[in-house]
């Protein structure tokens, strides 16, 4: 089961052969749910800084939920451990349609320093289709915000200027 494409599986369950789904992002504010799938927690620290460090998150139309049931996007950090796989899948399943997957940090993409072994699956890239990938080990809060904002308006990437940016 480890190589199941989560995205394909759940999309096929929910909409077997229907019309194309609307674009991933359609709501504002965009609500994110964070899951650490097993890493060093640095990306979590930087996402935490993004939430609380005056980066103008609310102004950019982004907020965080403490349940996947009200979230639009799943923000995954960490290298996707075998033990976290069912947790990530359950979170994804609990989210309403339309939904998207955001991979933050080198680990979440391809495992980074923690490639595949007995305990790790080595990132989401080979297991699901990622809607937005933010590389870096760890990426800065600014890079994370920029990635999210580019999803909201893909045509013109707005560079948000944080209130207290030096």
């Amino acid at each position: 089961m480890s190589t199941v494409l989560i995205r394909a599986l759940f999309t096929s369950l929910v909409a077997p052969a229907g019309p194309a789904l609307p674009p991933v992002i359609s709501r504002s504010p965009l609500v994110l749910f964070h899951v650490d799938s097993g890493g060093c927690e640095a990306c979590g620290l930087e996402v935490e800084a993004l939430i609380h460090g005056n980066y103008g998150l609310a102004e950019a139309g982004v907020s965080f939920a403490d349940t996947p049931r009200t979230a639009d996007m799943l923000l995954v950090t960490g290298a996707y451990s075998r033990m976290m796989m069912p947790v990530v899948q359950a979170a994804w399943e609990a989210m309403p349609q339309p939904k998207g997957l955001l991979a933050v940090g080198a680990c979440a993409l391809d495992g980074g320093p923690f490639g595949k072994n007995y305990a790790m699956l080595g990132g989401l890239e080979s297991h699901a289709s990622v809607d937005c990938a933010i590389p870096g080990c760890p990426p800065t809060p600014h890079a994370v915000l920029e990635g999210i904002v580019s999803l909201l308006s893909p045509a013109s990437v707005v560079r948000p200027v944080a209130a207290t940016e030096e």
């Binding site: 097993g38 890493g39 979590g44 800084a49 609380h52 460090g53 033990m83 923690f114 080990c137």
Partner: protein, 541 residues
């Protein structure tokens, strides 16, 4: 600013009851090429466990390498200096079992459980035989041993103890985690709550187990140190420094004083960053939004200062064997020499002490709701702290003033004052974190002056060359991380890592947390958890 009283433990009289001490028992074992490691036979090992019952020697860690079981002790005298004086006893077990140490040293329990999960070697007479990191989701059983068996992959299945009858009759089971939407690492807690109070606590970890030590085998020291920096983001400098210290000890590298001083600056910055993180999370859990906001903003300012001088907000990849590596510096840092840039950074951070820090501390003390929740919550007794040899903020909040920093060369010139409190509750732990930050800021100011005096030194003073040694060599290192002492033992062969053992305080803290939570009101759960500051990543390795 007034500092709390500093307590010193009394020096125990040397026991003379005719029986050899653990120290002499280990030393009577067969000598090995490593001067501090001795091989014991089954009888010697059994004798060792018996002697440990009433011997004050400090337990540091227990590991397996596939053939041998290694137990590391530090033979320092209580009340003396805290330098690690390693003494390792090794046993070639007869079959996949050995006499465990947890019945005489509870701190050995997470190590025994880890050895069982990774190597399939069982500890006899262990106090806890639950799996620590392997819950059946891995692709193999005992993955590191030669007898590894591929296992059918599937979802993790947790074996929880049958709930307490009182909980089944009158209470309920409340599961927490591993995905709460919060930013802490993944861990699962199962609380049995009766009448609003937590009666039973079970922790299931392993969600963040990455097999770090197994990955390091065969790596070059530099690559292994990079990986060590990713054991846990809240102790990245501590792990990088410890592994470097171990490698340098094995290869006989002398680190120049300037580099030592710069490492100390990085370690103190990390201590402040991690303490601010856990204080902010504690405030968040207690819904003290005002002080939480101030703490997060202070942490953000610190991260931005680091980014402006070092090119990094978090301090991953800053220490390399031989010295420090600060790449990616912006142009302004490059004009100054590295020591001067570091001096400026330390100076700017130390200025936080005059401006904002006293205000935040006063705000914390004035937040009545917060103080109410913290006071008396999650109490750890002095006896328990002694049995588990707790260090770091948790140990120092119950009167154990151990601090490895006292023994480093870098801190020799700055007269360290380790804060100690005795109440042992969440309030004492949070105040210890504030005291620690104050002390770190004072140290940073002192390091800034010292580095200022060394600013004209050449690059050779920032990093010493590391020789390529082909022979087998072993080394150890121990550093006071933000949540307690971090210890690594490394064996090098042909210039690469042949073996590495890692001890992080997180696993023992997680065990202490389980105990401290029982009896607490369930609303206090998050607050108590954050006051311990356990990193799931560091506990799972």
């Amino acid at each position: 600013m007034s500092l709390p009283p500093i307590l010193f433990g009394g020096i125990l009289p040397v026991r003379e009851d005719g029986r050899p001490s653990v120290r002499r028992l280990i030393r009577s074992g067969e000598k090995t090429s490593t001067p501090w490691r001795f091989e014991l036979d089954e009888d010697g090992w059994y004798e060792l466990v018996e002697r440990l019952r009433d011997d004050p020697i400090t337990f540091m860690g227990l590991w397996c390498d596939g053939v041998r079981i290694h137990a590391l002790f530090s033979e320092n005298i209580p009340g003396g200096d805290s330098r690690l004086r390693p003494l390792m006893a090794s046993l070639v077990p007869d079959g996949p079992r050995y006499r465990g140490l947890s019945s005489v040293r509870s701190a050995a329990s997470p190590f025994e459980r880890m050895i069982h999960d990774l190597w399939g070697v069982e500890a006899m007479e262990a106090v806890d035989v639950r799996p620590l990191v392997d819950h059946g989701a891995w692709s193999a059983n005992a993955p590191l041993s030669a007898r590894a068996v591929p296992s059918s992959e599937g979802a993790a299945s947790f074996v929880f103890e049958a709930p307490d009858p009182t909980v089944t009759d009158r209470g309920m089971i409340l599961p927490y985690g591993p995905a709460t939407g919060g930013m802490e690492g993944p861990v699962h807690h199962r609380l049995g709550v009766v009448g609003g109070r937590i009666r039973t606590v079970e922790t299931a970890g392993g969600f963040a187990h990455r097999g770090v030590t197994a990955r390091m085998v065969g790596m070059t020291p530099a690559a292994a140190v990079e990986l060590a920096g990713r054991i846990s983001a809240t102790a990245t400098v501590a792990h990088q420094w410890t592994l470097c210290m171990a490698v340098e000890h094995a290869l006989g590298v002398m680190v120049p004083p300037t580099a030592q001083c710069m490492r100390a600056v990085l370690a103190e910055i990390e201590r402040i960053h991690t303490h601010l993180t856990w204080l902010a999370r504690t405030a968040q859990a207690a819904r003290a939004d005002l002080v939480m906001g101030r703490l997060y903003r202070a942490r953000e300012t610190l991260a931005r200062l680091c980014a402006s001088v070092l090119g990094k907000r978090l301090l991953v990849d800053t220490i390399i064997p031989g010295g420090v590596l600060l790449s990616g510096r912006p142009a302004e840092g490059a004009e100054l020499g590295l020591p001067a840039a570091m001096a400026r950074l330390a100076d700017e951070i130390a200025a936080f002490d005059e401006r904002e820090f006293p205000e935040i501390r006063a705000l914390w003390l004035a937040s009545a709701g917060l103080m109410e929740v913290l006071s008396g919550a999650g109490h750890v007794s002095r006896e328990e702290a002694e049995t588990l040899t707790l260090g770091g903020p948790v140990g120092r909040a119950c009167g154990r003033g151990l601090d490895l920093r006292e023994s480093y060369d870098a801190y020799g010139a700055v007269s360290l004052r380790t804060p100690v409190r005795t109440q042992g509750d969440a309030l004492a732990r949070s105040l210890i974190r504030f005291d620690d930050i104050a002390e770190s800021l004072r140290l940073l100011a002192a390091f800034a002056r010292e580095l200022e005096g060394r600013k004209d030194e050449g690059p050779g003073e920032v990093c010493a060359p590391v020789p390529a040694v082909l022979e087998r060599a072993a080394g150890y290192g121990a550093v006071e991380g933000p949540s307690g002492p971090v210890c690594h033992c490394v064996t090098m062969q042909e210039g690469r890592i042949a073996q590495v053992f890692v001890a992080d305080p997180a696993a023992i803290l997680s065990m202490t947390l389980e105990k401290a939570l029982s009896g607490a009101r369930w609303e206090e759960f998050d607050v108590v958890k954050c006051s311990f500051g356990v990193s799931a990543a560091a506990a799972d390795l």
